[in-house]
Amino acid sequence: MMTIFDFEKPINELESAIAELRQLAAEKGLDRSREIAELEAQRERLLKQIFAHLRPWDKVLLARHPKRPYALDYIRLMCEQFLELHGDRLGFNDPAIVGGLAKLGGYKLVIVGQQKGRDLKERQKRNFGMAKPEGYRKAMRLFRLAEKFRLPVLTLVDTPAADPGVESEARGISESIAQSMLTMFELTVPTVAVILGEGGSGGAIALAAANRVLMLEHAIYSVIPPEGCAAILYRDPNKAPQAADALQLTADSALQLGLIDLVIPEPLGAAHRDPQTTALSVRSAVLQQLDELSRLEPDALREQRYQRFRHIGVYEVAQ
């Protein structure tokens, strides 16, 4: 599937022109390197220009970009080793949540992430990254495994929302989200959450009650999808771009509001243009957090996590 967003169009046109020229040069054995270099410089300028002025809605589109790297891509690109583990031990194995034991820069750790699908078939299998109760229960089972064997936890968040369907309701989607957060708050090992793409409300916070919460530069994190917000606020889901402005759902906004700890920069043109470089940035950011957190005692880790969330809120005190 090829999806090109409006703001990306001129870049993609240039990119196809470069590819065509390359192919032509190879077929005919001609040296077109000067023209290619010129076009590439043009592309670079254009990317800089466009990416310097992204609106929140552009970030929503980037966060949902069908070529954006997903959790398993990051795990593959940044871990030395990874063994995926399966099942919630209660009767289900939710493919929307992946998890397992990983080696990362000298650390042994448990990774739990939300996984979207790349093609239609996998997208359906992964339920578009929308976890069901059994997904969060799988996550909890792995959190407890981490606690038992004193392994740090890394969560990779990328979901439009938790699954809203009838079956998930019947199996306790709300309870599973609440319990997942509670389990994370009870851990005495270091925990780091990275919002990779879409941080979709309850479905996201369920895996993000961590000692440190990081966001990729073009990820979003929101209490409600902009379309849903627009339907309520403007009675028109097509006004999602305005709603995205109002919700302040970008990484920069979240950092300014003091709700996340760090924004991880993405390569020029966003993560999907260079997954390798993005994964290395995520890796070094995570390792730095783990180095810092590893100095804390088990009780101090739990207390730091408690205080980190306890003080979030903006209110006034009447005289």
Partner: protein, 272 residues
């Protein structure tokens, strides 16, 4: 004032049931705690009424009444919605909290008010709920919360989502202190509130027919093959699926809570 599902006043003396539309004599209706004597429909209660109907007479002392909402994102129409919510409910926020006695047991209690912006949870609700659990842990008191909420408050953006984590963290404090936490789901208990502190109670009661669920009904139906069951997202549906311990008619809630306190509290629990 209550909007949807409220009994409509025809005059001072008479009210009409919001469900079966029968005319009810107001003094009887109030004595029945706003439960219709014909069809049993539980009309919504205001938070303050709820607390007074639940606790021992003259025992309620409100806490944190000085917390007021801010508008951290300068969100469109939020200031206006806050003004309207205050006018509609007569309260300054969507929850009232305090300490009280129930059947002689000293308790921390909170009740949400659907009349204030749909009982939505922003910073103030999150803060007051968290303080309830911390107070319970510190003073070794049980916590009882009456939930009535459409979910997280959109107008405070991500700060509202974080209140889910904050209140959940506070529940963990009470759990570790070994003090009971009892929740009563009233109409409606939804989304961000259900998916955080509400679902983490040691024992969960619900009023008959209360709306209890995660996503909006339309979204849930769209996401599922076939038609949702007729009782989808009611307290009865959640009870059938093991998410709620008991459906309790309004009149029985106070004695049920008293029994639970007696069963779960240590013998030397503080009484007034």
């Amino acid at each position: 004032m209550q909007r949807r599902g409220a009994a409509q006043a025809n005059s001072e003396q008479w009210v009409q049931c919001a469900k079966c539309k029968k005319i009810l004599f107001r003094p009887d209706f109030e004595r029945a705690m706003r439960v219709c004597s014909h069809c049993g429909h539980h009309h919504r209660l205001r938070a303050r009424e709820r607390i007074l109907l639940t606790v021992d007479p003259n025992s309620f002392e409100e806490t944190d009444a000085d917390l007021r909402p801010a508008d951290p994102l300068s969100f469109p129409e939020y200031a206006d919605k806050l003004r309207k919510g205050a006018a509609a409910s007569g309260e300054t926020e969507a929850i009232i909290t305090g300490v009280a006695a129930l059947s002689g047991y000293e308790i921390v209690i909170g009740a949400m008010d659907f009349g204030f912006m749909g009982g939505s949870m922003g910073s103030v609700v999150g803060e007051k709920v968290a303080r309830c659990f911390e107070r319970g842990a510190e003073r070794r008191l049980p916590v009882i919360l009456f939930c009535a909420s459409g979910g997280a408050r959109m107008q405070e953006g991500l700060i509202s989502l974080m209140q889910m984590a904050k209140t959940t963290a506070a529940v963990s404090r009470l759990h570790r202190a070994g003090m009971p936490y009892l929740a009563v789901f009233t109409d409606p208990t939804m989304a961000g509130v259900l998916a955080s502190f509400a679902s983490l109670a040691d024992v969960i009661l619900a009023e008959p027919s209360a709306l209890v669920g995660f996503a909006g009904q339309r979204v849930a139906a769209q996401a599922s093959p076939g038609k949702p069951p007729a009782n989808f997202q009611t307290a009865e549906f959640q009870h059938e699926h093991g998410m709620i311990d008991l459906i309790v008619p309004r009149r029985q809630i106070r004695p049920t809570l008293a029994y639970l306190l007696e069963m779960l509290l240590p013998v030397e629990a503080r009484t007034r």
